[in-house]
Amino acid sequence: MPPSIKEIEKTACQIRKEIVKMTNKAQSGHPGGSLSAIDIVACLFMAEMKHDPKNPGWEERDRFVLSKGHASPALYGILAFEGYFPKEELMTFRQLGSRLQGHPEKLMLPGVEITTGSLGQGLSVANGMALGLKLRGLGGRVYCLIGDGEMQEGQVWEAIQSAGHRGTDNLCAILDRNRLQIDGKVEDIKKEEPIVEKLAAFGWNAIRIDGHDYRAILEALKAARETKGKPTFIVADTVKGKGVSFMENNVDFHGKAATDEECRKALEELDGRLEMIEKGN
């Protein structure tokens, strides 16, 4: 039984709390881009991907590549909630000796398919995984989450060309289109629109959705799965810092943790949200 939308929403909200807490505890890390991505990541791991936390090396599994590796709190959060490792470990994030490195490291933690952190490399790796899974007849699908600032890396476009040309249809890339990077608004630094048209021109099945609408995310993932002969790119319009009022659309919280006072406020807001979800709102 796939989980209900309500369950996904609840878990995503609980992970939002963890994202705020773990970055606060570490006094470093990237809350903004983790909060914008968590709804997508939660949908993938909870409802779309074929994977087994008890057997992370299962060959037939679907793969997830977090190309924007700085959103590691989102990945660590879902991995913990899915049972890859104990939730208590989340609070060791970024500390000396922790498996939860600042950026996700393949050799450290089960569930991390490839080390990321230097932007722009994930989609090429996802391409290789998708090609290899086909070649070996394993049947797995590959998902790759990319940042909209990250899209400025040339390598991303090399990979887009490769998969478009090959028609790698077991591949689905997702753009976390939160419109902010570090130095400001993406559109001020390098115009990204019309992004759907660009991706389509490169041979992709490009879909645009609201990246915080669980139903839309699940439908887009299903459409991707059913699309043959082309890779799918889901352009997910998101809000950086989503779920914490003072972090939303605030470029300062790209790579800055909440203070203790801010953390308390954020948790209060998220607890309020959780209550509303419980009440079925």
Binding site: A26, S28, G29, G69, R94, Q95, L96, G97, S98, L100, Q101, G102, H103, E105, T115, T116, G117, S118, L119, G120, G149, E150, Q152, E153, G154, Q181, I182, D183, I189, K190
Partner: protein, 313 residues
């Protein structure tokens, strides 16, 4: 000891250079507040180019700007400003002898919590291997300023490696800084420390510890890693007969390797390289990591003493 940020010194100096010389232009790759090029960007928006998250594009653009007579300073973190665009630096900057100044911040393990992917410990090795490249790793903020000014007025490619952490201040303001000239900061007869960057002050501290035990260490700041000051190094090797190098970098291909090859013909004395031993970094607080990798003054003193004991006495 007071401490100051080498990247803060860079931001301030670049701004001043930009005021005095219209040929100075700056580029960044979406990290302008961290690298401090933001000060220049705000003052001279028409002479600032943000490549976004596109380091290879940034380096190529810098080479193009240089080719038409401008003096570009291109900045990002050490890992992205070297590894991510190595071939662009090789071809468009070094083979072409372009007047491009690559000034990176966040070198080494003191990047801290970001972990291995962001802790660049191979950059000095990568950049030193490139013909025509000059490689500078300043020991404090004042020397960083002097190095940036030297790069601005000296034609050709430069690589200057700065840090996220503030460094103890060693030099007075506006120190003399010459390419290919190392500074003897402390004279000694028993052992020579050769260091770059943060390790210079750690070696100075280590030499105080050793002094209490009757060991007088010479401390050489080898900020100009390339060209290297062979003369000063050889003279010190002749004097003390033993060298310990210290660097916040891999021991393969960095300062230690280069000091070794600088002395090996004329005065091959026993030499121990302290640095990161053929492995990647990891997350942790900067200070914790310096201790973890045994690059703190106490560890440096202990290792130097062990090495000395084994070799000389």
């Amino acid at each position: 000891m007071a401490s100051k940020g080498t990247r803060d010194a860079y931001g301030k100096t670049l701004l001043e250079l930009g005021r005095d010389d219209k040929r100075i232009v700056a580029l960044d790759a979406d990290l302008s507040s961290s690298t401090r090029t933001v000060l220049f960007a705000k003052a001279f928006p028409e002479r600032f180019f943000n490549a976004g998250v596109a380091e290879a594009d940034m380096i190529g653009t810098a080479a193009g700007l240089a080719s038409v007579g401008l003096i570009p300073f291109a900045s990002t973190f050490a890992v992205f400003g070297t590894g991510r665009c190595y071939d662009q630096i090789r071809q468009a900057v070094c083979i072409s002898q372009s007047n491009v100044k690559i000034v990176v911040t966040h070198g080494g393990i003191t990047v801290g919590e970001d972990g291995a992917t962001h802790q660049m410990i191979e950059d000095v090795s990568l950049m030193s291997g490139l013909p025509n490249m000059r490689v500078i790793v300043p020991a404090d903020a004042h020397q960083a300023e002097a190095a940036v000014r030297l790069a601005a007025r000296t034609d050709g490619p430069f690589f200057i490696r700065l840090s996220r952490e503030k460094f103890p201040v060693i030099y007075e303001e506006n120190p003399k800084f010459e390419l290919g000239k190392a500074d003897i900061l402390r004279e000694g007869k028993d052992l020579t420390f050769v260091a770059m960057g943060l390790m210079v002050s750690n070696c100075l501290e280590a030499s105080e510890i050793l002094s209490k035990e009757g060991i007088e260490a010479e401390v050489i700041n080898c900020a100009s890693v390339k060209p290297i000051d062979k003369q000063t190094l050889v003279a010190s090797a002749k004097k003390t007969g033993i060298i310990v190098t210290a660097e916040e970098h891999s021991v393969i291909g960095g300062l230690g390797s280069q000091v070794l090859s600088a002395i090996s013909e004329e005065c091959p004395v026993p030499l121990k390289t302290l640095g990161i031993e053929d492995r990647f970094g990891l997350s942790g607080k900067p200070g914790e990591l310096v201790k973890y990798f045994e690059l703190d003054p106490e560890s440096i003193a202990r290792k130097a003493k062990e090495f000395l004991g084994g070799k000389k006495r």
